[in-house]
Symmetry: C2
Subunit: 425 residues, 2 copies
């Protein structure tokens, strides 16, 4: 922790905001090739700084051990030369992505001769508030840079030395290649007050993206005066319809639950049509048993699942992120739709059915970001969408919904050209 | 004022939120022609309720006179049969606009056979918090309805009787024509606590649009947990370039300042290149004198404007909304750009120049919603853009920027179709 007072923190963070605003105006006018040259120079600089970054990370790891961080948290925090190489390769990868800035979104003329153009422009200054993983420092900053935005990064205290070393490598590599000063700034201290100050400075920050646990997101949502794009839970559902191919249904549900249960697009609640329940569970039980999945079953599902735990109301609201699955037998499609619209976190849902009309009814009746027909919800991911990168998955409905990549880091502007048109007369 | 306690207000408003969420799911699946039939029925119902609406409005006007509202405020509040007819005609007009819901925004395939579709869907439930004008009750509700959204309306106390009468006519006309119950709800009391409660219920409200003075907007921005799309100031600039057609420049500046000075797209600060300042002001002085425009001039502009008032720092930050204009002479294009980027509210700016390269540099260097070349900023308006209607002009950069109409009241959803794809193996 630093020894700064709250007013000193405010002064420093506001100064960073002002500098970021100035940098953003310069960034907005860089060409795609200028930005790509900067990114390539940053990747080289990260590689050249590998030993400094790993050494800084050792300080964080030692402090984390003293603090008693769990083995899983220490692993998330750890950087070795291979992981630094992955971060650098990620920066190069972003240099290969299409630049969204300048894309013409629409063009039209009006009878009075005015010519309208709507085109993509950067958002401006984006604040990223994140927790332990130090790779976010680079991943988030370079996606913002490619889309023409300045960033103010505020990482967690556990990774502060690693974050500083990474940010420093990005800046020192980027600036000789043309990166405007203050395009990427890391708040050098991790006092909680800095989050509050960021949330207040809406004259300098156009958007905050919090990446971390629910506590962090709640804090940012409560305090922020500017837009926040966030990711709450991923309570994803799969519905096995009466006309499902049951082999496919078992494979999809098993993949969605067990292929990587710790992620937001993993399955949490399975809904099964009563007419196929017996046959489905007969096939599913041995498959799920291989990963020792715990079933939390409603009354009717319990009939088919002798080793299940009775589900309680809380289960339908729970993102387990583990080898646990809540399961309910439903009478008809509408019951599945109603259950999902009531309990879902509006992230991703799947229907397994050979009946296309049923599938279309399901997809057009549910208010979630991503709806899948005969596809595992594990495909709800920027890479799988073909976006080439992902800054997060939004469970909001404004501006960006679902997987967010470069386009979602842009705004737009209207340019209107005429020959002296006036409104009067 | 009502006699409800804060907890009673919370209970009632949360119940309205829950009902709106249920209505939104039904609204999302209405077809365009169903929505249009509902709108036409609402217009008829408004016309049939003219005498009730005018009588309710008389109560508001009497209360307003007792309260000592200004003549301008009383005029904004006033409804006669002609104004009710305008409101009804506005509803019919919305029935003729294109429905944005269901539009395919993009479609693509991936090598693994997944087919992606991104399509427009309604946002869900939109809260509108507004002040005196009772026509907003209808205008906002029907734009939200056409775009498939439920609304919770919270009008000002001055117009409560008028708002109730209008909302009641919309509901009673719409429901027999198929409007789902609770699609349009007016909060029946005007306690300040209801704004606070709306700002907190992010499980039920997807978006709040505050329409009114800066105080109201500040309150909503500070309290809201959900996205807010707002309109702060319109501090609009016009820059007269060294290569301007000066007749055109005078006509554009005069139109932008005096054709309707009380609106957000009116001109507030004029910037003039020093090489044309003498000639420009010679032509401009008599034209602006016709409307007795007060000039607030920087030192150099004072040389050309003998009857001007010296501009102070505050002037560059001021939205006069009156026959007052701040004016500054600049040495070059970049000085104009820098001034605008520093002082503008990012609404609308204009350059007058015969040089297209200069104009393009201006437009690509300024971070505002709408940039005009040789066009009065008074065209910064949904109607003039050809949107057919406008729910407001956003000075934000996320989700919606500039004039907002039906498209800006939508979100999107991804639908992904496959044949059993799973991520594992």
């Amino acid at each position: 922790m630093s020894v700064l007072s709250e007013s000193e923190i405010k002064e420093q963070v506001f100064m960073m905001g002002k500098q970021a605003r100035a940098a953003a105006l310069k960034l907005a006018s860089l060409t795609t090739s200028q930005k790509n040259e900067i990114l390539k120079a940053m990747a080289l600089s990260l590689r050249a700084a590998t030993s400094e970054i790993v050494a800084a990370n050792k300080k964080d790891l030692s402090a984390g051990e003293v603090k008693g961080l769990s083995a899983a948290m220490l692993d998330r925090l750890r950087l070795d030369s291979e992981r630094v190489e992955q971060i650098a390769a990620g920066v190069e990868q972003v240099s290969l992505l299409e630049d969204p800035v300048g894309e013409i979104l629409s063009e039209w003329d009006r009878p009075n001769g005015l010519r309208f153009e709507q085109l993509r422009v950067p958002i401006g200054v984006i604040g990223i508030i994140y927790e332990s993983r130090p790779n976010v420092t680079s991943d988030a900053a370079v996606l913002c840079l490619k889309s023409g935005n300045a960033t103010i990064l505020r990482g967690g205290s556990e990774a502060i030395h690693s974050n500083r070393a990474i940010a420093s490598a990005l800046q020192s590599g980027g600036e000789p290649a043309g990166l405007p000063a203050h395009s990427i700034q890391l708040i050098p201290f991790t006092d909680r007050a800095s989050v509050k100050v960021m949330a207040e400075m809406d004259q300098y920050l156009d958007l905050i993206i919090p990446r971390g646990g629910k506590g962090l997101i709640e804090t940012v949502v409560s305090l922020a005066r500017m837009p926040v794009i966030k990711h709450y839970d991923g309570i994803c559902h799969t519905y096995v319809d009466s006309e499902a191919d049951l082999e496919m249904a078992v494979a999809i549900a098993n993949d969605a639950k067990t292929q990587k249960p710790s992620v937001c697009n993993a399955l949490e609640t399975l809904l099964v049509h009563e007419s196929v329940a017996a046959a489905f569970f007969e096939k599913a039980i041995p498959v799920f048993a291989q990963k020792e999945v715990e079933w939390r079953a409603d009354k009717r599902a319990q009939q088919y699942l002798p080793h299940s735990v009775p589900a309680v109301e809380e289960d339908w609201h729970t993102e387990y992120l583990d080898y646990v699955l809540s399961v309910k037998v439903v009478d008809h499609l509408q019951e599945a739709i109603d259950h999902i619209n009531h309990y879902s976190s509006k992230h991703s849902e799947c229907i397994v059915s050979q009946n296309k009309v049923t599938a279309e009814t399901f997809m057009s009746s549910i208010d979630s970001a991503c709806l899948f027909h005969n596809v595992s919800t594990r495909f709800s991911d920027g890479e799988e969408f073909g976006f080439g990168a992902e800054i997060g998955i939004s469970t909001d409905k404004l501006h960006a919904r679902g997987p967010m990549a470069l386009r979602e880091l842009t705004s737009y502007q209207y340019r209107i050209r005429g020959e002296g048109q006036i409104k009067g007369k």
